[in-house]
Amino acid sequence: MRLRAALAATVGGALILAVGLARDANAEAVCTHDLRVLAQPRDGLTLLEKYKDEFKALSGASFDIDYLNENDRRAKSRADASTVGKYNVYYIDEANVALFAKSKWVAPLLDYYPKEYDFADFDPGRQKVATFDDVVYFAPLTGGGDLMVYRKDLLEKAGLKPPTTLDEFIAAVKKLHDPDHGVYGIALRGQRGSGANVWRWMPYFRGFGGKWFDGNKPVFDDEPAVKATQVYLDLFKYSPPGTKTGSWDESTGAFLSGQVALLIESTPLAGEAIDPKVSKVVGKVGYAPPPTPLTGGGYGHGLAIGAKGNKDDAAKKCAGLFIAWATSKENEKRRLDDGEFGELNRTSIIASDEFNQKFGADLGQALAETAKVTAVNFWQDPEWPNLGDHWGIELEELITGTRTDIKGSLDELNTYAKGLVANRK
């Protein structure tokens, strides 16, 4: 009898304690329901999904990430942000910051980014790209500029030094092009898209002195654009099949499987080239900044708070907490440990000893040198995606041969650009 009473009291007491503790935990809950994130496939995000429990303990809710390829992600985030707002967090990139900010589809990030997560630690180049009109809109997940990545062994065998000018580069591409032995000179992007083929084309355009707009007047329909297109189309002859309608995956995939001699691509490639899980050319790779006069394409992708998806301040705080956690020092450290070179954005991580140990000193040096020639190659305007995508389609047609008139295509683009500016509201 007494034992039973004692047992009951213990159980009862334990229950009360448990409820009390649970109450305390819930008192911390910033989030009331699971977050929906729309993103592109990124190793860093896949890694993040393993730590859902950690986020749940931190905020009281979990998260679900939907992945889409770049073009679809852009289209869908635009559609969603402007209509129903089902997603709470959007993965956005430098090209559409202007549009999203101006249309008020995303909320200013720093209002909801908890101070302890140290936003100022991010690489200054990436912070700049995430800002529009002096307001920061996203926290970076990846970014950088361009690097010329080449096969040391192939260049040595042919007695070539790593090219420093465009003419040397083109000569090297032609010399090393040997498709009968499975080696192509270069790999370019052919797939339409302001972030796909146009992105690879712009260094040539800007390098030759091209400019997009002078105020509201389109001024790109000129010599530099024609020359850049001719050089690009010419180089495509030395690019592997599959790249004509391919983007980053196809060209870097070809390089990593050992089929390409030189290419100029975004900095994350450097990290992939030395990762034995994905690269067959580990130990044979060298890096340098892009040959003059090419500029490096400065870019950044990150997570932003959706305005329609988070109707009140509390919801925005929850989204802000998620973004901060996803881009926190701890999570970046996990990415560093996992060898995800392309997804490190914090200066504290990039300057750390572990980084140097893992990726080597010459990579660090190449990064520093390329930072000097990294520029903003695109037109920083809400209408950029429209203009860029339109040119991307024409460029794809030129590359695959269904169109041949370069000047004519540029003239068409010019008319389109004028229409865009005229329709501005």
């Binding site: 635009r78 559609a79 009968d180 099949p241 309608t245």
Partner: protein, 291 residues
């Protein structure tokens, strides 16, 4: 039945009412939206009359998409029948009934697959670097070929999937129809020293004319739904060589700039064109069948 009863009305009226609403409301909305300049990202829009329609006819990409759609219809309908009829005849002539029945079940499988699945299976098979279908070509020539990225072969490659699904199904249907034909006319023709292919060309197939016409008809309708295949395999590329009308309407309404009114004007044109075309064909087909 010669009784007076309310059954016909009770059974048909609600259903017809539902169908009418489901069919006409979108049509009216489509016309209404086509007359505006609405975009998905803006909430304000104004009525602009026929501006969208006028823009369509001076839009080279639109005209290209019409041409591509027509090309697609011709290629797939003709190829499907060209594959189905001979295959059916061969099956009828050269296999035992048991084998034939097994083949019939096998050949229905492709059409049951969701278009998206079929598109993926073949996209995987056509992959230049490790696709099974192009492997023999790669062995012979030593170079990988990318069928889906070459403007000359892209449409053919997508058409292969369409014919794979429908051609085989039609072969099954035609075989079964052949099985139900009365044997005498065919045997009489054989006794008259007609060769096998002549028997078919001049006796058997004409007896099936009505059914064959129906099949062509059905295929013409189904070819309009090629969107799934093109979306998964090429997205309308390379360039715009496989951009059919529905792919273009979709890009305008969704992928590119959310110009839903522009896309709507295309939808209206499609509705009119298909209704007119098929009313005419339906009447013709009925007349053929009644002969």
């Amino acid at each position: 039945m010669k009784i007076r009863t309310h059954l016909p009305i009770v059974f048909t009226a609600p259903t017809m009412a539902v169908l009418a609403v489901l069919a006409f409301v979108p049509t009216v909305y489509a016309i209404d939206t086509a007359l505006q300049n609405r975009e998905l990202s803006n909430t304000d829009s104004a009525y602009v009359g026929f501006a969208n329609f006028r823009a369509l006819f001076s839009d080279p990409r639109f005209l290209n998409s019409v041409w591509v759609s027509v090309e697609w219809e011709l290629i797939t309908v003709v190829t499907t029948m060209a594959v189905a009829i001979p295959l059916a005849i061969l099956m009828f002539e050269a296999t035992s009934p048991k084998v034939r029945n097994a083949l019939c079940v096998l050949f229905i499988v492709p059409v049951l697959l969701p278009r998206v699945s079929a598109a993926f299976v073949w996209r995987f098979a056509f992959h230049p670097l490790f696709g099974l279908a192009v492997y023999p070509l790669r062995l012979i020539t030593g170079h990988p070929i990318d069928l889906l990225a070459d403007p000359h072969t892209a449409m053919a490659a997508v058409a292969v999937v369409d014919v794979w699904q429908w051609g085989l199904l039609f072969a099954v249907i035609i075989v079964k129809l052949l099985e139900t034909l009365p044997r005498q006319p065919l045997e009489a023709a054989l006794l008259d020293h007609a060769r096998t292919w002549e028997v078919y060309a001049y006796v058997a197939l004409p007896m099936l004319r009505a059914a064959l016409v129906s099949l062509v008809f059905v295929k013409m309708v189904e070819s309009l739904r090629a969107f799934d295949l093109i979306y998964v395999m090429t997205r309308g590329g390379p360039g715009i060589t496989t951009e059919t009308l529905d792919m273009y309407a979709f890009s305008q309404g969704f992928i590119e700039s959310g110009r839903i009114s522009y896309a709507s004007s295309m939808a209206v044109l499609m509705m009119i064109a298909t209704t007119v075309a098929f009313t005419i064909l339906w009447r013709r087909a009925r007349r053929w069948q009644e002969v």
